[in-house]
């Protein structure tokens, strides 16, 4: 219906003055040890590494590089705590500890949000309004399950597994820590968690909360480090369960490493989700859904809607509106309250994204970026779309993990389904239509663990999350998320 010849002007005019979040209340130590057995201790080999602010490239702190010996110490502490204290505690009392964690996070929310943005580059508005509240909510939700497991699995007796080794990524550091630790503890396990090497700080602050909440020493242990630390944890014979969120490649490495062992594992890996807009969609809300799906959190989202399928009759309108919406997205200082898109998490990730922008153009795709200014120092990528690409393009097949959207058109429902499913991934998908029966048909046909209808990137502690195919095994969140941390006996 619309012929988008007349354009709107978003440059210049009234602009927003800087609205910086104060960080003087956020306490970051110069150096952090490893949190093992209820205390911060120095790493055995005495090695530390820097953690930077990706928006300024400045050093925030130094954190310990856990060696095999440190991982061993942590696992032993977890095992000891499991055997002597945690597994013997009345479940309701375990629950009360987890409630305490939730409450303290709520009290210190602003500090956590500021540090999350400083360390990882995500906008303060997102940390403040989404990441930290959801993290607290996760602890609240799972705290309540601790003494109710008998109702979750009919005909089965639920028992803890023992010690869980958990490895989390850098895109939602605090939230991922909550997703891992809360259910593990609620089910009666103890934990050794390794945060990502570029974003260790909020996990270390969480360690402080855990200590303040009075949890018995060794119930939760936080070991910082890079790939080697993760490998040491995965391969340690003393853990009963591995939980990993990260890239599909590393997921496969872990799955191979665990072969032949009796360790249970859950893997939450990559994705290349299809976001499908039908002609009868609420178009303006669908455009917002595209933006939510791929541009927020800088596109560093495993379930990002990175492949757009728009029904051909509304394609021009949608793309026009999308381009205009992109012009109102503010890329900049993560600590500015108006920033929509923050810094890319690391130099390495930015390099990877930029190589895909090259590849996309070389393959013949038409690239369009918003025209906003970006700061001089730091790692930045403007919101980007590719048109004139198809399923055989690498930018359509491979996970870019940046604010880059590949756009295709389609004519019929079944065509959309075939193309949406035509990927080794299967984490999530989106459908935009005003017709209810189409939604249920889509949810029936889409091979993905999470289907968002007329919305995107919504998360809730009660809602299970996880993928099909190479997007992983297992679910986190909700009743189904308990499975990962229990042995179900007859």
């Amino acid at each position: 219906m619309a012929t988008p010849e007349n354009k709107l002007a978003f440059d210049g005019g009234w602009e927003y003055a800087p609205a910086p979040e104060s960080t003087e209340h956020a306490k970051i130590d110069k150096r952090y040890g490893l949190f093992i057995n209820g205390d911060f201790v120095a790493p055995e080999k005495g090695r530390y590494f820097d953690t930077l602010n990706p928006a300024t490239e400045e050093k925030l702190s130094r954190v310990a590089a856990a060696s095999d010996a440190d991982v061993d110490k942590a696992v032993k502490a977890a095992r000891n705590a499991y055997r002597s204290t945690w597994s013997r505690m009345k479940p309701a009392e375990r629950g009360k500890y987890i409630y305490r964690i939730a409450r303290i996070i709520q009290e210190r929310a602003r500090e956590f949000a500021a540090i999350e943005s400083l360390d990882g580059g995500k906008p303060i508005r997102e940390s403040r309004d989404v990441d930290i509240p959801l993290a607290a909510a996760h602890f609240f939700y799972y705290a309540g399950w601790a003494d109710k497991l008998e109702y979750a699995f009919p005909g089965r007796k639920a028992r803890a597994l023992g010690v869980a080794g958990q490895i989390i990524p850098w895109n939602f550091p605090m939230l991922m820590a909550a997703w891992k630790i809360a259910p593990a503890l609620a089910c009666g396990n103890t934990v050794v968690l390794k945060p990502a090497e570029t974003t260790p700080l909020t996990a270390l602050k969480l360690a402080e909360v855990i200590a303040d909440a009075g949890l018995p020493p060794g119930v939760v242990n936080i070991v910082t480090g890079a790939g080697e630390t993760g490998a040491a944890l995965v391969e340690h014979p003393g853990i009963d369960k591995v939980a990993f969120t990260g890239s599909t490649n590393v997921g496969k490495i872990i799955q191979r490493a665990l072969a032949g062992t009796s360790k249970k594992y859950t893997l939450e890996l990559g994705g290349k989700a299809a976001n499908i807009i039908f002609a009868d969609a609420a178009i303006d809300q669908a455009v917002e859904g595209i933006v939510n799906g791929i541009f927020f959190n800088q596109g560093h989202v495993c379930c990002a809607g990175s492949r757009l399928f728009v029904q051909e009759s509304v394609a021009d309108e949608v793309i026009q509106k999308l381009k205009e919406r992109m012009e109102t997205l503010i890329v900049g200082d993560p600590l500015d309250k108006n920033t929509d898109i923050g810094a890319i998490n690391s130099a390495m990730q930015l390099e990877k994204i930029e190589s895909y922008l090259e590849i996309g153009q070389q393959e013949g795709g038409e690239m369009h970026q918003s025209s906003c200014r970006v700061p001089e120092r730091g790692y930045w990528c403007r919101p980007t779309i590719f048109t004139g690409v198809s399923q055989s393009n690498r930018v359509v097949q491979e996970e870019i993990f940046g604010p880059v959207l590949a756009i295709q058109t389609f004519r019929r429902f079944d065509e959309a389904i075939i193309k949406a499913n035509n990927t080794p991934y299967g984490l999530s998908g989106g459908i935009w239509t005003d017709k209810g029966s189409k939604i249920f048909k889509m949810t029936q046909s889409l091979r993905a663990g999470v289907v968002w209808a007329n919305t995107f990137n919504k998360f809730d502690p009660t809602s299970p999350f996880g993928g099909y195919k190479e997007s992983g095994v297992g679910r986190e969140g909700g009743l189904h998320g308990l499975d990962a941390y229990l042995h179900l006996g007859a």
Binding site: A92, Y99, Y141, G144, W145, K148, A152, Q444, T462, L479
Partner: protein
Amino acid sequence: MTTKRIPVAKTYKIYIGGKFPRTESGRYFPLEDKKGNVIANICRSSRKDFRNSVVAARKAQPGWAKSSAYLRGQILYRIAEMLEGRRAQFVAELVLQGATQRAAEIEVDTSIDRLIYFAGWADKYQQVFSAVNPVSSSHFNFSVLEPTGVVSIIAPDDSGLIGLISNIAPTIVGGNTCVTLASESRPLSAVSFAEVLHASDVPAGVVNILTGYRSELTEFFASHMDVNAVVYCDSGKKTARSVQVLAAENVKGVFGRTRTNWMKDDAQHPYLIRDTQEVKTTWHPIGT
């Protein structure tokens, strides 16, 4: 010469629509301790107080039901926090009403933990009791629980606190609002509990608490046409039967929770939530 400080005696009122009025009837009955001393004058609530409570409960119900499960869980947890903060007061009141110190402490601790127990169910009972039904036609079919509405509760007489809380908590965590008749022989804790509710972000009208004579009020608790379910806790076949007969007038849900030892662990379970929930099933075609 030193004069002993005269303590200020507390007036025990009732709790309706988030406020603490006296009974509109102006009547009272004295509560005596074991030695026969009058501890307090307790409001002898009238049927009009009950009527006003139902109006308040009905008004509050849609908003409470619409609030998220997360919020209801947070509020119930807050009630527990507030009760924990006033532990000493509640222990003292139970002792005043005849309990031993030890028994009173255990009752208060159990009450706090019970609130936490039900707070934890707020965002879970739906997952346990709902269903997606695999009907044979091409329809997406799902059954969810929905609160029945306004519930009248006649709390157990032999318990001042735990019996009251064990019935209020599962009722409201599921999105219902309630009007509760406190124990006749141990009414103090109920009124003090109203103060705790008031300090806990519980919206006005979600819980209403009356004190008074069962013999006068039970019939109204059971017969009011704008009440959706009635819960009674005292055994006594005659009362039970009369409640059931009166409830039939508008086909209320009737729940007799008699012969329960509220202090025990098995007195807490999610079926107390399910009792005051309806099941709603929706169908929608699957197709293009």
